[in-house]
């Protein structure tokens, strides 16, 4: 990694990745972004009075939240309660939905996500790595999948990109499995491998947050377990927001829990407290399996 740093002549960031046994320093490929990727600061995500309407439906209702830095926050709740929509407002993917109205504030490092526009959105999306429900490798080789994110942000040089690819594939625990076939199409990987590739791809643009939308629901139990373990390692360096359908998963990995019901946040707090000592009746019912 040393010559990579020299090549970029940028100071190394004291960020280390301990995932999967590798503990090299991550070279800062990107200049720290003034707004969303500021490094020194704690990057809490603060949601204030967020309302989302799609067509005539009120999808998210007066959401107030604080998502802590470098923790795993699980969003739980029955389907259709607005979990995914909440996630989509965080990286502005919500823009692609027709007839959508968003009001309120989502603050990252003091900058409002909801009102940002133009190139700010591009920086924002870089800061918010997304792992979707179904792994979605781009129609190119394994290597190009990782390099893609760097290339679109103007980073060139095959040598440099190769080091980046290796680093983040190691971080996602995929390097050993794919190092001999980096140039084969990514679609030939197994579905669990594909999801780890997507994770590596997201990490390669150096996000602050990882937004995981039911990232393990399409995977087999073993692959799910690998992803969960990765998340626990990655929370040293990233804040992770995970929407999940499985309570057990939330129990296993969550530091913080947000319980949503019909577009409202019913209860939020440290996982211990919400799971063992829920305040709200609805939370109790949901946790005991009265509805799901």
């Amino acid at each position: 990694m040393k010559h990579l740093l020299q090549a970029l002549s940028l100071p190394a960031r004291p960020r280390t990745l301990a995932a999967n046994g590798t503990s090299g320093k991550v070279a800062p490929l990107f200049r720290p972004d003034r707004k969303f990727n500021r490094d020194e600061q704690e990057s809490e995500l603060i949601v204030q009075n967020l309302n989302v309407h799609i067509k005539d439906q009120h999808i998210l209702k007066n959401i107030h939240l604080t998502i802590p830095d470098k923790k795993i926050t699980c969003v739980i709740g029955p389907s259709g309660c607005g979990k995914s929509t909440l996630l989509k407002t965080f990286n502005r993917l919500i823009d692609s939905i027709e007839e959508v109205r968003v009001s309120g504030k989502v603050l990252l490092n003091g900058t409002d996500i909801v009102s940002s526009g133009g190139s700010e959105i591009i920086h924002l999306r870089r800061a918010m790595g997304l792992i979707s429900q179904k792994p979605c490798p781009l129609p190119m080789s394994i290597f190009d999948n990782i390099a893609y994110g760097c290339r679109i942000h103007g980073i060139r040089g095959r040598k440099k990109l190769r080091l980046v690819a290796q680093h983040y594939l190691e971080a996602a625990g995929l390097w050993e499995e794919v190092k001999d076939r980096l140039n084969t199409p990514a679609t030939r990987l197994s579905i669990g491998q594909q999801q780890r590739l997507c994770l590596a791809r997201s990490l390669a643009v150096e996000p602050r947050f990882i937004l995981a939308d039911e990232a393990t629901s399409a995977l087999d139990p073993i692959s799910s377990k690998i992803i969960e373990e990765l998340f626990i390692k990655l929370k040293e360096n990233y804040s992770i927001v995970m929407v999940t359908h499985t309570l057990r998963q939330a129990l296993r990995i969550a530091d913080n829990v947000i319980f949503m019901y019909l577009g409202e946040v019913i209860e939020t707090g440290p996982a211990d407290k919400v799971f063992n000592n829920p305040e709200h009746k609805l939370t109790k019912k949901y946790l005991s399996g009265v509805f799901s």
């Binding site: 990286n91 993917l93 692609s96 027709e98 591009i122 920086h123 999306r125 870089r126 918010m128 790595g129 997304l130 979707s132 179904k134 979605c136 781009l138 129609p139 190119m140 893609y148 994110g149 679109i152 942000h153 199409p185 679609t187 997507c198 791809r201 997201s202 643009v205």
Partner: protein, 297 residues
């Protein structure tokens, strides 16, 4: 005893198989028929003479097909070169950029364009394109042009296949799953980067197949091209020269050929040529497509 519905099922399968077979056989029958009809001219002249000679004097028994072959190829190349970029960008705009309201009005308009009879495109070409070329465009480059040129043929043909290409491209691009776009956009890619590197790349084999379809159609298009391209049996030297594509040759001379048996055979050979060219073109492009798909997906 066999149940009635099982019998029906079997009968339906049989009938459909027979019909499919029939249409397959038809292609072969047409090829063989054309070959038999063109046999007299094939017996008298070598294939090389027919294809490589540029002298077309049927009354003197000189049948050189090179001008027609070149005319066909050039008109098609011009048409494709103009239609593909325009239709691809149009399709991208309509699927990736345009608001739904715009789509609602443009899609039906495209269908209407695609359904217009080709003679209307021919008339439009004669009334607008031909004078435009002879009065405005050609004088800048050459001394004299009637306007009935290869360029006019190419433009009319290009405009004709445009709606076909656009609707094929739209179909393909909308088939790209939204998650792929989201994956790219959530990495911080712009819409254009996503379109160029993910969407178009994902459907690239399909796009090629669509172009192949358009080329096949352009190769065989007769009336509209015949009306604007001048129909001179000479090898065109520039895009401002007249040309004479094979379908135009057949259509123009079909009535008078009967008096000369060799002439008839020669025209049948022209038809056979077109038939083989289209067939080979389709075959080769299939092979190429298969290769592409194997390496990328």
């Amino acid at each position: 005893m066999m149940l009635a519905r099982v019998a029906k099922d079997k009968a339906a399968g049989g009938i459909m198989f027979t019909l499919t077979l029939l249409s397959m056989v038809l292609v072969v029958v047409m090829g063989v028929g054309l070959y038999l009809k063109s046999a007299p001219v094939l017996a008298e002249y070598s294939l090389g003479d027919l294809l490589l000679s540029s002298s077309w004097k049927p009354m003197r028994g000189e049948f050189g097909f090179l001008p027609f072959v070149m005319g066909t190829i050039w008109v098609t190349v011009i048409a494709i070169a103009m239609a593909v970029p325009v239709s691809l960008l149009t399709a991208i705009y309509l699927t990736e950029y345009a608001r739904p309201a715009i789509r609602k009005y443009v899609f039906p308009a495209l269908d209407i364009l695609a359904a217009l009879p080709s003679v209307i495109y021919g008339v439009w070409g004669t009334l607008l394109i031909v004078p435009f070329i002879s009065e405005r465009l050609a004088p800048r480059f050459v001394e004299f042009s009637t306007g009935y040129t290869m360029l006019a043929g190419g433009i009319v043909l290009g405009v004709m296949i445009l709606p076909l290409l656009v609707s094929l491209f739209i179909e393909l691009i909308t088939s790209v799953p939204g998650e792929l776009r989201e994956a790219s956009i959530s990495l911080g890619a712009t819409r254009w980067q996503t379109t160029k590197k993910v969407v178009v790349r994902n459907v690239f084999p399909g796009l090629m197949a669509a172009v192949v379809l358009a080329v096949s159609r352009a190769l065989g298009e007769t009336i509209a091209v015949l009306m604007v391209c001048g129909n001179l049996p000479e090898i065109p030297r520039s895009i401002f020269d007249a040309c004479y594509p094979i379908p135009a040759l057949i259509a123009n001379n079909y009535g008078e050929m009967l008096s000369l048996p060799r002439y008839e055979a020669a025209l049948m050979f022209a038809a056979l040529l077109l038939f083989i060219v289209v067939l080979l073109f389709n075959l080769i492009s299939r092979v190429i497509l298969y290769r592409i798909e194997k390496t990328f997906f």
